[in-house]
C-alpha cells in the first residue's frame, strides 16, 4: 500500500455520512525497531477534511506561525478537518474508509497531540 492510495480517499462515518477526504496521516515513532532508523513509524490516525490544498499548508499541523491574516484564514480552513484515531477505522475499501464512530464524536486536530 502506498500513502497516495490513502490520501484524498473519501471517509464515511458509522452512519454512512461522508465526512470528507483523507488529508494527512499521523505517524508516531514508536513502532517496531528498524535497523538503521530506530523505532518504526506507526500510523496513529489521520485528518479528514475537504482535501483542498488550503487545508494542508502547515498552519495547524505544521510549524507555520504567521502572518496573522493568513493564519486566521487558513487555521479556520484547517480546523474544519477532523482527526480520526486509527482504531476508529472499521474497514477500508479501495476508494472509501468507513469509521466505527459517528461524525459528532470526532473533533479537530489539536497541535499538542
Amino acid at each position: 500500500m502506498r500513502l497516495s492510495d490513502l490520501t484524498r480517499v473519501a471517509v464515511y462515518d458509522v452512519g454512512g455520512k461522508r465526512i470528507g477526504r483523507l488529508n494527512d496521516v499521523r505517524l508516531v515513532q514508536d513502532g517496531p525497531y528498524v535497523e538503521g532508523f530506530g523505532a518504526g513509524l506507526r500510523v496513529a490516525g489521520f485528518v479528514a477534511g475537504s482535501g483542498r490544498m488550503g487545508e494542508r499548508l502547515g498552519f495547524n499541523r505544521g510549524g507555520v506561525d504567521g502572518p496573522w491574516l493568513l493564519k486566521v484564514f487558513f487555521l479556520r480552513l484547517e480546523r474544519r478537518g477532523r482527526f480520526v484515531p486509527w482504531d476508529k477505522v472499521a474497514r477500508m475499501e479501495n476508494d472509501a474508509i468507513h469509521l466505527s464512530v459517528s461524525a459528532a464524536e470526532l473533533r479537530p486536530f489539536e497541535p499538542d497531540e
Binding site: 505544521g62 507555520v64 496573522w68 493568513l70
Partner: protein, 409 residues
Amino acid sequence: MKKILSITLGILTAIGGFVDIGDLVANAATGARFKMALAGVVLIGVLGIIVYAEMSGRVAAITGRPVFDLVRERLGPNAGGANLIASFIINLLTLCAELGGVALALSMIASVNYILLIPVAAFLVWIVIWKMPFERMEEMFGLLGLMLITFLVALFHLHPPWHELLHSASHPAIPKNETPFTFAYYAIALFGAAMTPYEVFFFSSGAVEEKWTVDDLNLNRANVYIGFPLGGLLSLSIMALTTVVFAPRMISVDTLPQVALPVALSVGKVGLGLLIIGIFAATFGAALETAMSSGYCVAQYFGWQWGKFVKPREAARFHVVMLAAIVATTLFALTGVDPVKVTEYSIVLSAAALPLTYFPILLISNDRHYMGDHVNGRVLNFLASIYMVIIAVVAVVTIPLMIITKAGA
C-alpha cells in the same frame, strides 16, 4: 573590495531582473508615455522584491532549500507542477529575448545585423554556464552591469527640472490620450518586472551555490538591501531620462537602441560606449539568470542534483536542461521575433504566476520547524501580507488587461 564582491549576487540578480532588455524598453516607454506617473510602481516593486528575496535568501541560508524545492514541498506535485510549467515557459521566453538583447547590444558597436550575432550570444552564455565558477560569473557580470549607472550620470548632466519630475511622480495622473486600462497595464508590467520569479529562483539557488549558512544572514541582507534598490534606481533614471528627452517631443519608445539615445545626447560617445557595455552585461546577466533558472526549477522540482558547485557530469540532467533551453530559445530567437515584445509578454505572464512562487516562500519563512528562531518578524509579515494581496490581485487582472489593451497598444 572583498565586501563589494560579496554582494555581487544581489547586484546581478537585481540588474537581470530590473534592467534586462524588456525592462530597459518598458521603463523608457513608460517615461515617454506617462512621464514619471508610474515611478511609484517601481518603488512598490522594489520594496516587494526586497521583502521576498530576503526571505528566500534566509530560508536558503538556514535550511539549504532553494525556492523551487519549497514550491514542490508545500504545494505538492500538481500545483507545483503547474508552477513549474508556467515558470519554465516564462524563463524560456525571457531567455530568448535576452539572447536577442545581447546580440542587439553587440550590434550597436559592431555594425552587424543582430540576428547573425544571436548564435554567438547563445554560445557565450552556454560556455559561461559550463565553465565559469559561480562566484566569478556573478562578480564579472554584476560589476560590468554597474556601467548602467551611466543612465544616472546622463540624467544629472542634462540638469533636468527635478521639481517637475518629482511632482509628476508624486501626483500620478493618466495622460488624457491614454485609457486607465493602458495605464494599469504598464503599471503591472513594471511591477511584474520588479518581482519576476526568476529573481528569487536565481537568488536563492545562488545562496546555496555559495554555501551560505546561518552566519551569512547579514550578507543576505546586504545583497538584498543594496542590489534591488540599485536596480530600482536604474529603472527610475531611465524613466526620468525619457520623460525629459522623449515625452516633450512626443517620441514613443519601442526599440532598444532608442533607449540609449538620451544618454548619447547627454554625455556623448564615452557615455554611450560605457552604457552599451552595461546593456551587454545586463542582458547577458539576465540570460544567465533565466537559463540557469530553467535548470534550477526543473532539477529542484524533481530533486535532481543541480548547481555549479559540482562537476557538470555530476549534475548531468541539470546541464542537459539548460543546454536544451539555450538551443531551443536560440532557434526561436533566430526566427526574428521582436525581443522587446517577447519580454513584455513574459513579464506580464509571470505576473499571473507570481502567487504560486511567493506564497510557499512566505509559508516556509514562517515555519518554526524549518527556521527555528529565524522566522519572519511582525513588521516583515505585515508587509509580506500586503504584498501577497497585491500579488493576488495582479495575478487575477493581468491576463484580462493584456487582452483588453492588446498588450498596451
